[in-house]
């Protein structure tokens, strides 16, 4: 609204990104759920009920925006990595299922309690993530995408990895092959500038992982990974590129707002001042402020969304805690197909 109430046609950010009010509210509601769920997982770890928590706080917009765009732009398939709770929720995993997985309970859709949380596969949601060996999934994702094209499908594969994984030889090999064969894949780097404790300046001599794409003969783009709308716009274009012209690398600059995992103490290597600065880029708060400022959301509605998420996570926690562990007799199942 302009001064004196004069109507000025300012297109709002979500509209330029091609997202309806209903959609942006749904995304925000889901993002709040992910945040509450993520916080609950850390509490459950301290209570001894979750052996390990890998927080995605700070990565939500990058994961949700890219997955959301992918799911609305033709057939896609995900090869995520271990910090991708928000991605998996966006792809359809419920809070109940996520907590079953974090507790290692029967009914965990990824591995039925065999693997670290959210690892293995969830084919109903188009997800394969065999391990948490960093970068190991990248050549697999390239092979999967290559096979999709071989079979005449339109599928685009999205392969996720962190800045740490970008140092692995398998990352180089995967990108090199993808470039040669113009494989329909989006490499999505969530760069939070830390490989556990090792800062980016000790991982690489360049500022942007995206710069490496040029060496493989495909484009690399940098995006503010805490800006949901920017991520959606860039991913949408990247998918069109991948489907018609071959690979593309998106580097989403994100913040890691928590230690590496619940087994890590980041006070040993990261200043509190730096972490405070990082919180200004919290993607959940950024989206919340946008919605409140634009009047898309009232404070009352916002409180109701957070309360609804707490109730859902509370219910899911009770459900997962009451669920049994896998039967010991299942130990020997599925070693071979």
């Amino acid at each position: 609204m302009g001064p004196e109430g004069a109507e000025i046609a300012i297109t709002r950010r979500h509209e330029t990104a091609g997202i309806s009010v209903e959609e942006v509210l749904a995304l925000y509601t889901q993002m709040v759920l992910v945040r509450i769920l993520d916080e609950r997982i850390l509490v459950l770890n301290r209570q001894g009920k979750v052996p390990i928590g890998i927080s995605c706080q700070g990565h939500e917009a990058a994961q949700m925006g890219s997955a959301w765009a992918a799911l609305r732009n033709g057939p896609c398939f995900f090869f995520p990595y271990y910090r991708d709770l928000a991605l998996k929720i966006t792809a359809g995993v419920s809070a109940r299922e996520a907590l079953l997985s974090f507790m290692g309970k029967a009914g965990d859709p990824f591995s039925n309690g065999r693997q670290f949380p959210l690892q293995g596969a969830d084919l109903r949601r188009g997800i394969i993530q065999l391990s948490n060996v960093v970068a190991a999934g990248l050549p697999q994702a390239v092979g999967y995408a290559w096979a999709c094209r071989y079979l005449g499908e339109e599928t685009v594969v999205l392969a996720y990895f962190g800045d740490g994984a970008s140092s692995e030889g398998e990352c180089h090999e995967a990108m090199n092959f993808a470039g040669i064969h113009r494989v329909p894949i989006v490499f999505f780097c969530e760069n939070n500038r830390y490989a556990i404790s090792v800062p980016q300046r000790k991982q690489m001599a360049i500022e942007n992982v995206a710069e490496r794409a040029a060496a493989y003969g495909f484009p690399g783009v940098v995006v503010d990974g805490t800006d949901l709308f920017e991520v959606i716009e860039v991913t949408r274009r990247a998918i069109a590129h991948a489907r018609t012209q071959g690979p593309i690398l998106i580097e989403a600059k994100v913040e890691r707002l928590s230690p590496h995992t619940t087994d890590d103490d980041d006070r040993r290597y990261r200043s509190r001042e730096e972490l405070e600065q990082a919180r200004h880029r919290d993607p959940v708060r950024r989206l919340q402020q946008y919605l409140l400022q634009e009047g898309i959301l009232t404070p009352e509605q916002d409180r109701a969304i957070w309360e609804g998420a707490r109730q859902e996570v509370e219910e899911a926690t009770r459900y997962a805690e009451a669920s049994p562990y896998p039967e010991a007799s299942t130990l020997l199942e599925h070693i071979y197909a």
Partner: protein, 332 residues
């Protein structure tokens, strides 16, 4: 080892035929590896393939074993039936993460959701003046790992039938081809379609007094040794494992129940080798049938395999060494 005759093929011809027939039968079968295209592979296993099937199915990869394995694994996850070639076993190490860390655990780690119909062909073994980096035996590492199958044929017939079975299998199969057998060993291969099942050993020579267990190149030395000691009245039964994982326990047990004495021969290092597991299995399962200690004649525990002929010969199990061990065992 044999005169050339009608229907006879070399091991490499049998392997080539198996792949070609499977590629004609099933479009999901693709081949990838270093030099597999125009060159036809350094051992010519894929000679003529790119001409027949095109570059879309016969992929000359960059020199990068980790991604050869990883990309083949990814394609298998999508439902193709890739055959990845690792040029020499000595170069398989960079691929171990993808093969043993990833492919072997994919089915288990997804609670049976995904399957990996992947074949990884690996030329291995020594006796060819290959030195430390073109002679290695890598089977024990794969043998140790649940989730993969490990096949190591010795004859053209078995190589063809087992490779066809491997391509049709829904699990990752490590297909070990002894390089020295490629052109040296010839044998009858029928024209008609057949498959040799994975997991079945084969009694290659009937006998009653000693069970001689082996696989790969040295299986042929075992057969020669069995014929040699037969002249002294020592009756040896030669069991060709053919598949290392899963082991055909019943064929081994049946033979040992009959003979009561066991010699295990392999080219791979002694310690922690396939022979160690077989010895332990026999001690657990058929101990009361044994009339003598279980003997192993294996490569010594040195990095395989020295370049100089004196050193290589000292390393290799030979017919002569096997004959000596059989005589000692017979006299026990």
């Amino acid at each position: 080892m044999h005169e050339r005759a009608m229907g006879e093929k070399s091991v490499i011809e049998a392997i080539r035929d198996a792949m070609r027939e499977e590629m004609r039968r099933d479009e999901r079968v693709v081949v990838l590896g270093e030099d597999v295209g125009a060159r036809g592979g350094v051992f010519l296993a894929t000679q003529g393939f790119v001409e027949e099937f095109g570059e879309g199915r016969v992929i000359d990869t960059p020199l990068a074993e980790a991604s050869i394995a990883g990309i083949a694994l990814g394609a298998a996850l999508k439902g193709l039936r890739p055959i990845a070639e690792i040029q020499f076993a000595d170069f398989a190490w960079p691929a171990f993460n993808q093969l043993l860390g990833e492919a072997a655990r994919a089915c288990y780690g997804s609670n049976g959701q995904v399957r990996v119909p992947l074949v990884v062909r690996i030329p291995y073994g020594g006796g060819i003046r290959g030195g430390l980096y073109h002679s290695q035996n890598v089977e024990a590492y794969f043998f140790h790992t649940p989730g993969v199958k490990v096949v190591a044929p010795a004859t053209p017939y078995d190589a063809k039938g087992l490779l066809k079975a491997a391509i049709r299998d829904d699990n990752p199969v490590i297909f070990l081809e002894h390089k020295k057998t490629y052109r040296l060993v010839r044998g009858y291969v029928p024209d008609e379609e057949y498959v040799v099942p994975i997991g079945k050993a084969d009694v290659k020579h009937r006998g009653s007094q000693i069970t001689l267990v082996s696989y790969g190149l040295v299986l042929h030395y075992c057969l020669q040794a069995a014929r040699t000691v037969a002249q002294d009245g020592i009756s040896v039964e030669v069991v060709d494992l053919r598949t290392l994982r899963p082991l055909d326990r019943e064929t081994l047990f049946d033979s040992v129940r009959k003979t009561g004495k066991v010699l295990i021969v392999h080219e791979d290092n002694l310690t922690g080798g396939v022979g160690a597991e077989i010895a332990a299995l026999l001690a657990e399962e058929v101990f009361e049938y044994l009339d003598a200690p279980i003997l192993r004649l294996c490569g010594p525990d040195v990095p395989t395999m020295p370049f100089a002929p004196t050193l290589e010969d000292a390393y290799m199990p030979t017919t002569e060494k096997i004959v000596g061990a059989l005589r000692r065992l017979a006299a026990y």
